[in-house]
Symmetry: C2
Subunit: 221 residues, 2 copies
């Protein structure tokens, strides 16, 4: 079959709904972060520490994505943060239709910063835009410093990399300089944060960056 050149991309069904989500979020002045990481890298812990560090300066909302369980949503709800749990029932990533449904269940007028905790996976979530403003990933210290070479897609796609579990660095074979270099090599514009959700180290700088991002976003409300 002859190959036909297509001048404009036909927008996928997911991307179309993602754009509608983005419009809904902008109309409510909500900056949205799509937070991606491996299982157990500390996504929920980072959300809870971010809430503590922002200390009410931004009103948080959270969407929790998991294959199964409501463990994370319960933790976030216990901190008094509006939260919706999505169980993908086997799917390895969140998609825009799931977010559209979750947005209907959140008090959008009472949220400034929405953090979407994606399913624990470094590969598939990158392929599905949700309507987010920013994409952020966590790379945790015990995962090792070679992950950018193995999962280049996600390290290239994000606006920021949060290196979590810095408190474990003395106990594992981990070369922080090598990780920085690998990230810089494939994504020179990404912000890099070194934090420990356990000790609180570095959370302040990360929270300030989110605050600056929110100010630059110039919300409509």
């Amino acid at each position: 079959m002859k190959k036909v050149e297509v001048v404009t991309d036909i927008m996928s069904a997911n991307d179309q709904i993602a754009q509608e989500n983005a419009e809904t979020l902008r109309a409510h002045g909500i900056l949205t972060v799509n937070l991606m990481a491996s299982p157990g890298a500390g996504k929920t812990s980072l959300i809870l520490e971010t809430a503590r560090a922002l200390d009410g300066r931004l009103r948080l909302g959270v969407i929790e994505g998991d294959v199964a369980s409501r463990i994370d949503a319960d933790k976030v709800a216990a901190a008094g943060i509006p939260v919706v749990q999505i169980n993908t029932g086997g799917a390895c990533h969140l998609d825009a239709p799931m977010i559209r449904q979750a947005l209907r269940a959140l008090p959008l007028d009472e949220i400034d910063l929405l953090i979407v905790e994606n399913v624990g996976n470094l590969i598939c979530p990158v392929e599905f835009r949700l309507g987010e403003t920013l994409r952020v990933m966590i790379a945790s210290v015990p995962e090792g410093h070679d992950k950018p070479y193995k999962y280049p897609g996600i390290f290239t796609a994000v606006e920021a990399v949060v290196i979590n579990k810095m408190d474990l660095a003395p106990y594992v074979d981990f070369d922080l300089g090598a990780l920085h270099e690998a990230i810089r090599g494939m994504n020179p514009r990404a912000e890099i944060f070194e934090v420990s959700c356990r000790t609180g180290e570095g959370i302040g700088r990360w929270a300030e960056w989110l605050w600056a991002q929110w100010q630059a976003y110039r919300p409509a409300k």
Copy 2:
């Protein structure tokens, strides 16, 4: 449309090739382990420690699966183990056709135990049989003890769970009893091993189990 009951499953293309791989492997008397885990849980380290512990009792071969890079294959080759690297180029799991191709590049007559290191992912690899004899997963301590509830598919599917990085237990919030209980609850027959690839703790018992599995497999050669 009226739903039609189907008496026998039509075998998927992947499952058909997986069965062919299984026949090839059996014909060469090779016990094959499909090793799955999150990114950075210690799959390559476990392979290297297993080789050390078996100390030549079984001749190892390895297939390394990664989205990109040949870092892991280089490590395995440096230990003198025959290895093939598969780069999935974005795919989040290995599949049977990839393994069929890799088998052609391995000295099958010189291998007793083939370990296939799947792509770092707790979700998608479970859906694709490769022709393996056993499925084994690593759950690493810093990932936390709640993972079975969040990723029930993989914890239910495997014959064994290797809890790695036991040396980090004192430094993280980790409840070993709770993890055992969660695994037992959804997969009572799974063998559970507690190991540290860093200190060598527990590797002996794991290697003995592999040896027993290989004896039970009664290879044709």
